[in-house]
Symmetry: D2
Subunit: 140 residues, 4 copies
Amino acid sequence: MEELLKEFAVTLELPVQWGEMDAAKHVNNAVYIRWGESARITYFNELGVDSAFNEEIGPILGWQDCKYIFPVTYPDTITIGVKTVEIKSDRFMMECHMFSHRHQRLVAINKNSIIAYNYKKLKKADLPESWLEKIKKLEG
Amino acid sequence: MEELLKEFAVTLELPVQWGEMDAAKHVNNAVYIRWGESARITYFNELGVDSAFNEEIGPILGWQDCKYIFPVTYPDTITIGVKTVEIKSDRFMMECHMFSHRHQRLVAINKNSIIAYNYKKLKKADLPESWLEKIKKLEG
Amino acid sequence: MEELLKEFAVTLELPVQWGEMDAAKHVNNAVYIRWGESARITYFNELGVDSAFNEEIGPILGWQDCKYIFPVTYPDTITIGVKTVEIKSDRFMMECHMFSHRHQRLVAINKNSIIAYNYKKLKKADLPESWLEKIKKLEG
Amino acid sequence: MEELLKEFAVTLELPVQWGEMDAAKHVNNAVYIRWGESARITYFNELGVDSAFNEEIGPILGWQDCKYIFPVTYPDTITIGVKTVEIKSDRFMMECHMFSHRHQRLVAINKNSIIAYNYKKLKKADLPESWLEKIKKLEG
């Protein structure tokens, strides 16, 4: 696991809950999306980017995908590694790699396109300089 | 169903979703609690009581229970009948009776103790006179 | 709405529940994924494809994405139109277009890559001929 | 916390996830019910009672309640202490006390009435002697 996680500046560990499995007896597909969200918020907190929607310019999720690689079941613990993989003028792409402790392997990859949004003017904004600096500092 | 529902002034119909079933292949116990919440909000809307937490005095859930009577599975549709069954000085008790269309029967009873709360002073309040009038009007 | 939905052979209507909103006061991103799942299951049922995981070869979700176009809030009703947009030897791509009744517009597009999986041999399978026939019949 | 938890033979620690908050900016009431379920399953595992529904006689939840004492928000960590507080011929009552790390206090109490159920004969059963022994051993 350590080897698998060393490329990620930010990680989040979450226990699998029994009730997150569905009638197919695997963790439900939507739960991975919740895990990705939690990892995203952890990353925002690390960046010092407001995720409480109190500031004029904040992050908004424009798009996400999830590649399901290996089915997860209870009991297990998931560690999610998060990193920024691409930066454009008005958005950046964040990748969440999800690892199972029980199976010691990658189980899913969730990509997130984060847009800078002006919550006052209700329109897209350029990525604030402060975010870019923090991302660069975090990602090295 | 009509016979079963005629004692309720407020009802809400919700489809069962496949993903609401858990690994026991029944609708998960927490989903009934979500259904009860949706029925509660519908009742508040009927009362004209603010459920958007914008007013000084609003409702807050102090306690709830749920008696699980019959297991629900996908596909099905649930109708929830809501009524106030008891009024005290600072709270009232709301009962949600949940009926399965497929089985034409009662599947769960969820009781909710709703407290009047002063969101500015952060303490309990007496039930506003306006709520009492609306409840009486609704319940006849 | 009728105009917007006429290209879809299969549709599903779901009410927005208050508790599906998160602290940003919009419907949470993971809820759209649940809606897409429900639409997918409805489509499988229309195809006559087993979604109860009782047959040797069944569908499995290999990948999905979601483009978030417009924020949804309670109260609203969502209609999801589903169609197959691409067929390969071992998978097909299903698109779910989500429409808000309140805003009379498209709010999200969710794509799903459905793989044929042999649950006995625990490996991918070719798409059964019966599925292809049903998809062609449904999509015209 | 240690002091608060010392009366519980079984405990479970869960991180609060941002997406578990609702539009009232508190953890949604249904999430506590999910936490109670996870604690219940942990307790069953400690008892050696099958929670995978593979045996003839298994546990089923007949009733639960939840007293909401203090609102929880992200970020926080919850520890749930579980204990059996009453045993009858065909059921036992399990109490889950939920504690916030951030506020170092009790935030909710969730009671669960667990019934022994014969999944083959589809009717209630007497509590198996083996469960009683395990509960007594666990609770001392």
